[in-house]
C-alpha cells in the first residue's frame, strides 16, 4: 500500500541538473538505500519525495496518491536528518510529540505512542531533557524516535549515521535494521557509505551525476555490477581494473597486456567474441585473488611483485605490481610477504568481470 513510485523524475537548480530521469519503484515495506558519491543527487531525490524540493519534471506517488503538489505535512512521511534537527527549545518528549500534536492527536494517545517509541529505543530516562543535554548517539535515537511515533507510511533517512563515531555507527546500523524488521515500514535511506548500503538495504540504488546506475539486491550489485562505476563503487577495497587486449590464441580467447596475460574464462568467452582484437577492461575483486599453488590452473595465474603489505588482522591487503599494472589482493593472514617479494597470484575464473571501454557497461 505504501509503495513509492518515481516516474521520470528530474530536478534542475539554476545551473545544476541534479537528478536526471530517475525511475524507481519502491515496494511496500521495502528498505531501499540510495548510495553514490557526494553530489550525485541522492539527497535531492529524497527531498523531492519529502516535498522539500519542488519537482522540476516527472511524478512521485506515495501509496496510491500522486504527491507532486502536496506539502510535506500532508505526505504522511517521516524523515531523519544527518544533523538530527532536534528542536533545541523543546524537551525530548515534546520533540517526539510535536508531530502528533500538529495532527491533533489526543493527549493520552500521544503519551502512549511516545512511551512506546521511547521504550523501543531505550530512551525513557531522557524524555525530560533538552537536546543539548544529550550525547550524539542519544540525539540520534531521539531523532529516530520522533520519526517512528507517527507511524508514517514511509521513513526517509538522509545520512542519519554519518555524524556518529565508527563504533556507534555500526551499532546503530544494526538497530535500524532490527527496527525496520519490527515496524515493517517502507524506508528510503540515503548514504554515501557502501557498507551501510549493503548491510541495510533490501535493494540498493547506485547513483552518479544524477543518473541511476543500477538497482538491485546487495549481492546482485556485488556479483553482477552493471557497469564499471558500480563495480568500483561497491566493495571495499574496490575492484581492480586493468585495460587489456582480447586476443585469439590456441583456439581460446586471452586477455593480454604487458606484465599480465590470462585466459578468458569460458563463461565470458562467448560474450567477448565480438571484441576480438579490441581493448576491454578486466575487473577482479581483491578477494577473488589468491596466492597461486601448484593446483591452480596456469592459465589464470600471473607473476607479481609486492609493493606494500597492509596486515589488518583477519586478512592482509597486498599492493602488488604485475608489470606496470597496480593490483590489490586480499589474502589469508597466514601469507608471509614483504616489500619486493615475488609472488604468483591466481584469479577466480568465475568472478572475472569485463567492461566495454567506451560504454563502460559490463560485457
Amino acid at each position: 500500500m505504501a509503495q513509492v513510485m518515481m516516474k521520470d523524475l528530474n530536478k534542475k537548480y539554476d545551473e545544476v541538473h541534479a537528478v536526471k530521469d530517475v525511475n524507481l519503484h519502491i515496494r511496500d515495506k521495502e528498505f531501499v538505500v540510495l548510495v553514490g558519491p557526494s553530489g550525485c543527487g541522492k539527497s535531492t531525490t529524497l527531498r523531492m519525495v519529502a516535498g522539500l524540493e519542488e519537482i522540476t519534471a516527472g511524478e512521485i506517488s506515495i501509496g496510491d496518491r500522486i504527491v507532486n503538489d502536496l506539502p510535506p505535512k500532508d505526505r504522511d512521511i517521516a524523515m531523519v536528518f544527518q544533523n538530527y534537527a532536534l528542536y533545541p527549545h523543546m524537551t525530548v518528549y515534546d520533540n517526539m510529540a510535536f508531530g502528533l500534536k500538529m495532527r491533533k492527536f489526543p493527549k493520552t494517545e500521544i503519551a502512549k505512542r511516545v512511551g512506546e517509541a521511547a521504550e523501543i529505543l531505550g530512551i525513557q530516562e531522557l524524555l525530560k531533557r533538552k537536546p543539548r543535554q544529550l550525547s550524539g548517539g542519544q540525539r540520534q535515537r531521539v531523532a529516530v524516535g520522533r520519526a517512528i511515533v507517527r507511524h508514517p507510511q514511509v521513513f526517509l533517512f538522509d545520512e542519519p549515521l554519518s555524524n556518529l563515531d565508527a563504533k556507534l555507527r555500526v551499532q546503530m546500523r544494526v538497530e535500524l535494521k532490527r527496527l525496520h524488521d519490527r515496524l515493517e515500514t517502507t524506508a528510503i535511506y540515503v548514504t554515501h557509505d557502501q557498507v551501510e548500503a549493503m548491510t541495510l538495504g533490501d535493494r540498493v540504488v547506485v547513483m552518479k551525476d544524477g543518473w541511476i546506475q543500477q538497482v538491485g539486491e546487495p549481492l546482485e550489485l556485488y556479483g553482477h555490477p552493471a557497469n564499471r562505476f558500480v563495480a568500483g563503487f561497491i566493495g571495499s577495497p574496490s575492484m581492480n581494473f586493468v585495460e587489456m587486449t582480447v586476443a585469439d590464441a590456441n583456439g581460446a580467447l586471452w586477455a593480454d597486456t604487458p606484465g599480465l596475460r590470462v585466459k578468458v574464462p569460458p563463461a565470458s568467452a562467448a560474450r567477448l567474441g565480438p571484441y576480438k582484437g579490441q581493448r576491454v577492461t578486466l575487473g577482479i575483486r581483491p578477494e577473488d585473488l589468491r596466492v597461486a599453488t601448484g593446483a591452480d590452473a596456469a592459465d589464470y595465474s600471473f607473476d607479481t611483485v609486492v609493493e606494500v603489505v597492509e596486515p589488518l588482522g583477519s586478512e592482509i591487503l597486498l599492493d602488488l605490481k604485475a608489470g606496470p599494472n597496480v593490483i590489490v589482493a586480499r589474502v589469508d593472514p597466514t601469507v608471509r610477504a614483504k616489500h619486493q617479494d615475488k609472488m604468483r597470484l591466481s584469479l577466480h575464473p568465475e568472478r572475472v568481470h569485463f567492461f566495454d571501454n567506451k560504454t563502460e557497461l559490463a560485457i
Binding site: 500500500m1 505504501a2 515495506k29 501509496g63 496518491r65 503538489d69 502536496l70 506539502p71 500532508d74 504522511d76 495532527r103 491533533k104 492527536f105 489526543p106 494517545e109 505512542r113 512506546e116 507511524h151 508514517p152 507510511q153 519490527r182 515496524l183 515493517e184 515500514t185
Partner: protein, 322 residues
C-alpha cells in the same frame, strides 16, 4: 486502514481518522496558498515594504519635489528648478554649515576611532570588574543624546562652568574659556561631546571584533619578538579592518546627519556659526516654514551619504565574494 505499521507494532492506532484526508481541495485555500514559497514571501514582506515605502520612499520623492519647488507653509508653491539649491549655494550660512558638517564629521570620526580602538584594546585584557566597566562605558551611547548633551551644556556654561572652575583652581587658566560663546570653540566642544557619545559604540564593536581574533596569533607574533605596537599594527589591525570599515561608515552617516547634539548644545549659535546641515535645514524648513529651501538643504547631505553607502555596499559585496 491504510497504515499497517500500527498493527505491526502490535497495537492498532484508534485515531487514524484524525489524519487529514481531504487533500485535493487544500491548494485553493489560504493555508494552501501560504505553502507556496513566493506567496508566503509576498505576505511576509508586505507590511515592511508598505511602511518603508510610505514613510521613506514616498517622503524621499516628496522631498525631491519640495526641493525643486517654492513650497512653504500655507503655500503649495510651484516648480522653480534648481533655484533653491542656487540660493543655498549663495548663502554664507549654508556654506558655513556645510563646512562645519565636514569638519565635525571628520574630526569626530577620527577621535572616536582612535579613542575607541584604544579603549577596546584596554577592555580586551583581563582585569577584575571588567564586565561592569564595559557595561558602564556604554552608558553615553544608551542615554538619550539630548539629555546628556544638556549635562555638557551645563558643564560648558559661560558663568557656572565646572570645567573653567577646575582649570582655574589648578592654575591652568587665569580667565575663563569661551566654550560655547565663541564659534570656533563651540564647534570643537560639539566635536568633544560627539566623541564622548559615540566612542563607546566604536569601542564595543571593535572589542567584539578583537574577541574573534584568535589569541594564538598574538602569541605567535610576540614570540617573534614584536613589541606591543608592532603586534597591533601587523597582527591585530589587519584582522580588525573589516569591522572598522563598517563601524566608520555607520558613524560617518550618523555624524554627518547629526541634529540633536548641536540643537541642544549651541542651537546653531553664536551668530549661526555652528550650524550643521541638519540644524540649518530645520531652521529654514521648520522654524521659518520655507519647506522648499529646507528640503533642498537637507538633500545636500545626500551626495555624501550616497558615496558612503555605495562604498559600504561595495565593501560588503567584496566580503561576500571573498
Amino acid at each position: 486502514m491504510k497504515n499497517p505499521i500500527a498493527g505491526g507494532a502490535g497495537r492498532a492506532a484508534p485515531v487514524e481518522v484524525a489524519l487529514p484526508h481531504s487533500r485535493a481541495s487544500q491548494r485553493r485555500t489560504l493555508t494552501g496558498l501560504l505553502e507556496n514559497e513566493r506567496f508566503l514571501a509576498l505576505v511576509l514582506l508586505t507590511p515592511t515594504v508598505l511602511i518603508l515605502g510610505m514613510f521613506i520612499a514616498y517622503p524621499f520623492g516628496m522631498g525631491v519635489w519640495f526641493a525643486l519647488s517654492s513650497i512653504s507653509v500655507g503655500n503649495p508653491g510651484h516648480f522653480v528648478g534648481l533655484k533653491n539649491f542656487v540660493k543655498a549655494w549663495n548663502d554664507s550660512i549654508f556654506r558655513i554649515a556645510f563646512w562645519n558638517t565636514s569638519v565635525y564629521t571628520f574630526w569626530a570620526t577620527i577621535f572616536k576611532l582612535v579613542l575607541g580602538m584604544w579603549l577596546a584594546l584596554l577592555l580586551n585584557r583581563h582585569f577584575r570588574g571588567k564586565r561592569i566597566v564595559r557595561a558602564s562605558m556604554l552608558l553615553p551611547f544608551i542615554v538619550p543624546t539630548v539629555l546628556s548633551t544638556f549635562a555638557w551644556r551645563w558643564m560648558f556654561d559661560p558663568t557656572f562652568s565646572v570645567l573653567n572652575w577646575t582649570l582655574y583652581k589648578t592654575g591652568f587658566i587665569v580667565t575663563k574659556l569661551p566654550f560655547l560663546s565663541n564659534g570656533d570653540w563651540a564647534l570643537w566642544c560639539a566635536i568633544v561631546v560627539n566623541t564622548w557619545r559615540g566612542m563607546p559604540f566604536f569601542a564595543i564593536t571593535l572589542l567584539a571584533g578583537l574577541q574573534t581574533i584568535n589569541t594564538d596569533l598574538h602569541e605567535a607574533a610576540s614570540l617573534d619578538g614584536a613589541n606591543g605596537w608592532k603586534r597591533f599594527w601587523y597582527v591585530t589591525w589587519p584582522l580588525l579592518k573589516p569591522v572598522t570599515v563598517v563601524v566608520v561608515v555607520f558613524s560617518i552617516i550618523q555624524t554627518f546627519s547629526d541634529f540633536q547634539l548641536i540643537y541642544v548644545l549651541t542651537g546653531g549659535g553664536p551668530a549661526n556659526s555652528t550650524h550643521l546641515l541638519a540644524t540649518y535645514a530645520y531652521q529654514i524648513g521648520v522654524a521659518a516654514g520655507l519647506l522648499g529651501e529646507g528640503a533642498a538643504i537637507s538633500l545636500c547631505m545626500l551626495p555624501v551619504l550616497f558615496v558612503v553607502v555605495w562604498i559600504q555596499l561595495r565593501y560588503l559585496r567584496r566580503l561576500e565574494g571573498a
